[in-house]
């Protein structure tokens, strides 16, 4: 064996090992492996082919002169080239999670809502219709909060009465789920004690009959206390505790909250900041105390113009990884879409050519939501009534295919506006 051949053989051994390792990673890669020129994937055949290919004397060194292309015969009729969609099989499925419980389920909600269950990327109706439509929750707070004018004008009358605010969001805006942010519990704001916060939740449970999401203040220890108390007084309602974090784990309080959620039959939302490894780590910790189908993930929603692309991409990656079989990511995902208003362009005065802000702001929230809708988000926490309305309409439209009326746009080129 010459030196050249020896090198090639060593390379080939390495190559085959790598192929063996790499082969399971991606379906596309498996496809291309099957067709090495005209060969079938038989290691010995492959070996000889590779040896031939690297042996210099047998390589073509000079390209033959390119033959002149024959003059094209222009088709006179449309050449048929029918289309078959490229469809894929996914080994994984997103878990189904039930929000809220009716009387028969041990709660008091008018109806329960099931989300998740996806078996394909978002709205790939050509593969499968999603089993459940994504759902919109509307944000309310337990105190007067600083809000952009475009939102404030819609809630001013109720923003000091959480129950009234909740009722308006459900009755007037069509909230399917309602979020109560217990912001006043923040030790740096009002430090509202857990019992009082739990009372606010009970008032909201009385005022509306949709499933609830309970938001904390972000202080790991205080949230743990508040969530534990709320879990107790709302026994059986299947509320979603938003959120539990790895910071809670570091503070030594995660176990307590998770146990309380598990014991009283509630759901938990694991929040991590744009990091799938940490999302998985948090889920693993939660599995010890909470049933797997009571867990949702918040992977972080950054506002349009303020990092939405990171959120968009991490949601696409998470969903694809989950569908390809990563069980620790097979949970429905929630987006705190109200974060859209953190972008200055959503509310700032920019001059007359960018007005009116009463449209720019809610559009900002709408577009933030829609990007993540197409990336696979199952549950949205939103704020502006117009954004909520558009989202509900678009979700409904996306859920049903086959309704296009192409004749409507066939002549758009000529149409007058």
């Amino acid at each position: 064996m010459g030196a050249e051949e020896k090198k090639a053989a060593t390379e080939l051994a390495e190559l085959l090992r790598l192929l063996g390792l790499e082969g399971k990673r991606e379906i596309e890669l498996e496809d291309v492996e099957l067709t090495v020129g005209e060969l079938i994937l038989d290691p010995s055949a492959l070996a000889s082919a590779a040896l031939k290919a690297v042996a210099p004397p047998k390589m073509k060194t000079v390209a033959p002169p390119a033959p002149l292309a024959p003059p094209k015969v222009k088709p006179t009729t449309i050449l048929e080239a029918p289309f078959t969609p490229f469809v894929q099989e996914y080994p994984g499925q997103i878990r189904e999670v039930t929000l809220g419980a009716t009387k028969s389920g041990g709660g008091s909600r008018g109806k329960k809502i099931v989300i998740g269950g996806a078996t394909t990327p978002a709205f790939y109706l050509f593969e499968k219709t999603p089993p459940h439509p994504p759902v919109i929750s509307v944000d309310t707070f337990d105190m007067k909060v600083t809000l952009p004018k475009a939102i404030r004008m819609h809630v001013e009358e109720v923003w000091e009465d959480t129950a009234a605010w909740a009722k308006m969001a459900v009755d007037k805006w069509g909230a399917e789920v309602l979020t109560v942010h217990l912001l006043s519990t923040d030790p740096l704001i009002k430090d509202t004690p857990p019992a009082k916060a739990a009372k606010t939740v009970e008032e909201v449970l009385q005022a509306v009959d949709v499933p609830l999401i309970i938001g904390g203040c972000g202080d790991p220890k205080k949230d743990a206390e508040v969530f534990t108390k709320v879990a107790e007084v709302t026994e059986g309602e299947r509320v979603l505790l938003s959120s539990v974090t790895l910071d809670m784990d570091e503070a030594g309080v995660l176990e307590g909250v998770a146990k309380a959620a598990g014991k009283h039959g509630h759901l938990v939302l694991g929040f991590t900041a744009l990091d799938l490894n940490r999302a998985k780590e948090l889920n693993r910790k939660l599995y010890d105390y909470v049933p797997e189908d009571n867990i949702l993930m918040d992977l972080t929603t950054a506002a349009l113009g303020y990092g939405l692309e990171y959120s968009f991409t991490i949601h696409e990656r998470a969903r694809m990884a989950a569908l390809m079989g990563d069980s620790e990511l097979q949970h429905p995902v929630l987006s705190g879409t109200t974060n859209a208003w953190a972008a200055r362009e959503a509310w700032i005065k920019l001059g007359p050519e960018w007005e009116p802000r009463s449209l720019r702001g809610p559009l900002w929230e709408t577009l933030t939501a829609l990007s993540l809708l197409l990336a696979g988000v199952d549950l949205f926490m939103m704020m502006h009534p117009d954004a909520v309305k558009t989202m509900k309409k678009v979700v409904e439209q996306l859920m049903t295919g086959g309704k296009a009326k192409p004749e409507k746009i066939a002549n758009w080129v000529n149409a007058k506006i």
Binding site: L15, P75, F86, Y124, I348, L359, L363
Partner: protein
């Protein structure tokens, strides 16, 4: 046609094909363990060929060329326009952004019609020259980058060749922007092409009824050609094949943009076309996709605002779902601002870090009386503040705190930014030795940490430091400083 038959027509690429052309030295300069791993990633479009430094050397020139050829983007790159004003569309290597990165940001074209007056005759009338100028003059500076609109789409609503020709002439007179010519009647199209013969406009469009005449025009005038088959992917694919056989090589595909009840089919059509190209290696679909959110304007008698709102969200959805060029109508700032920002965002490289280096930054030439501000190391927070400070001019210190790449508001809520963290950052920055004053300007979003921060600063050995609560948004800093800097000494 079965999938196997689809594949037969396209170039089949295996990691081995690529590996054999690489230097095969396993030098690891690309960051991969060996050349085979790099080859596998190249085939998967997870890396670019240029990430292999040795292949760029003279001795590998031939292999490099060959590799470039076999690694050509799965979506053909099409050039519309000429010279410095040309836009490139397509050239996509991947379907999902996280697989690599998207190339050639979506081109945004805005319509004028051949029946518009050149200038408005009454207030708010849509007029050709004014609209063209508005497209040209659109500008928004976003984190230090200028965001613009790209193209003009001239539509023939008159269906009259002479009228169309003169409108196209007017447009070419007032702008160098690349053009889309929109007419379904070939004689009208030809009149437009005559008027813009040196501009290489995109022809819109060939349909099942006019395809051969449009193909002749595309060849005669050497222009890229759109094939339009609303909600009919069999026809779209057949037209693509027919055009290629006819000799037209620069195609743009329009599966139709159908708002409202057609939205689901629209999104699915765009997705299927792109997926067949990227994952099924279907060459007939390996062309840029054009979306026409302008069709939202033909969906009913809603108010102007409602139609513009619909157009905006359809545009945004199609940018997320694979459109390479869009034709729109609304030039309202509130519509276009989120549109151009989302476009900018999804075309950034997803491998770029979310965080910047936490450190003490200086702007201008700060001295011992310059303001000391603080922000977090989330890239977008930092770049926003940076671009504002540069815009204001002046001399500042800016402490960039490590919040693990989280914005101020979220970092405060999530306890990444606390009084302790702030005090440590101020101390470690050494800014106390550079200034004589003892004032720290905190972001408005961190206002509630101000009392605690003063205490913590004492604890870390910086007594006497006071906190000034800044604005919630850095755009307000100039005004704040005007009012509050230099600070008047207050009673303790």
């Amino acid at each position: 046609m079965t999938e196997r038959e689809i594949k037969r027509g396209v170039k089949q690429l295996s990691p081995i094909d690529v590996y054999m052309l690489l230097p095969r030295t396993n030098c690891k300069e690309c960051g991969e363990p060996n050349c085979m791993a790099f080859a596998a990633k190249l085939v998967n479009r997870e890396v670019s060929l240029e990430e292999c430094p040795p292949i760029l050397k003279k001795e590998h020139e031939k292999a490099y060329k060959k590799l470039q050829e076999i690694l050509a983007p799965v979506i053909k790159e099409i050039t519309i326009g000429t010279g410095e004003h040309a836009v490139k569309i397509g050239g996509k290597l991947v379907m999902y952004r996280h697989e690599f990165t998207y190339h050639n940001p979506v081109a945004l074209a805005f319509d004028v019609t051949d029946e518009m007056p050149l200038h408005p005759r009454f207030s708010e009338e849509e007029a050709l020259v004014d609209r063209v100028k508005n497209v040209e003059n659109f500008l928004y500076n976003y984190i230090g980058r200028d965001l613009n609109l790209d193209m003009i789409a001239v539509r023939s609503t008159s269906n009259d060749p002479t009228t169309f020709k003169s409108a196209v002439e007017e447009v070419t007179k007032v702008t160098d922007l690349p053009l889309v010519l929109c007419a379904l009647d070939p004689s009208v199209m030809e009149a437009g092409l005559v008027a813009a013969s040196d501009r290489r406009p995109l022809i819109y469009a060939a349909t099942k009824d006019n395809w051969n005449e449009m193909a002749d025009l595309a060849l005669m005038y050497n222009c890229p050609l759109t094939v339009f088959a609303p909600n009919d992917l069999n026809l779209l694919r057949s037209l693509s094949k027919t055009m290629i056989e006819y000799g037209v090589e620069d195609l743009v595909l329009d599966p139709g943009t159908l708002p409202d009840e057609g939205l689901s089919d629209t999104v699915n059509n765009f997705t299927m076309v792109r997926r067949n190209a990227c994952k099924g290696w279907d060459k007939l679909f390996g062309f840029p996709l054009i979306g026409t959110p302008i069709t939202a304007w033909f969906t009913g008698k809603d108010s102007k605002e409602m139609l513009a709102w619909k157009e905006a969200y359809v545009a945004s959805m199609l940018m997320s779902r694979y459109a390479d060029i869009l034709i729109m109508h609304s030039l309202d700032g509130w519509v276009q601002l989120p549109t151009v920002i989302w476009r900018f965002n999804i075309y950034t490289d997803p491998r770029k870090p979310v965080a910047v280096e936490p450190e003490l930054k200086t702007f201008g030439k700060p001295d011992e009386m310059s303001p000391v501000m603080l922000t977090t190391n989330y890239a977008l927070t930092y770049f926003t503040v940076e671009s504002d400070l540069k815009k204001f001019g002046g001399n500042y210190y800016l402490i960039v705190v490590d919040t693990e790449g989280i914005s101020v508001e979220s970092a405060v809520a999530g306890r990444y930014l606390t009084a302790e963290v702030i005090a440590e950052a101020v101390k470690n920055s050494g800014v106390a030795e550079k200034v004589k004053h003892r004032y720290l300007i905190l972001p408005g979003m961190a206002a509630r940490l101000s009392g605690e921060t003063e205490d913590e600063l004492k604890n870390v050995g910086l007594p006497g430091w006071r906190v000034i609560v800044g604005t919630r948004d850095s755009s307000g800093i100039a005004k704040l400083l005007e009012e509050k800097w230099p600070p008047k000494e207050e009673e303790e």
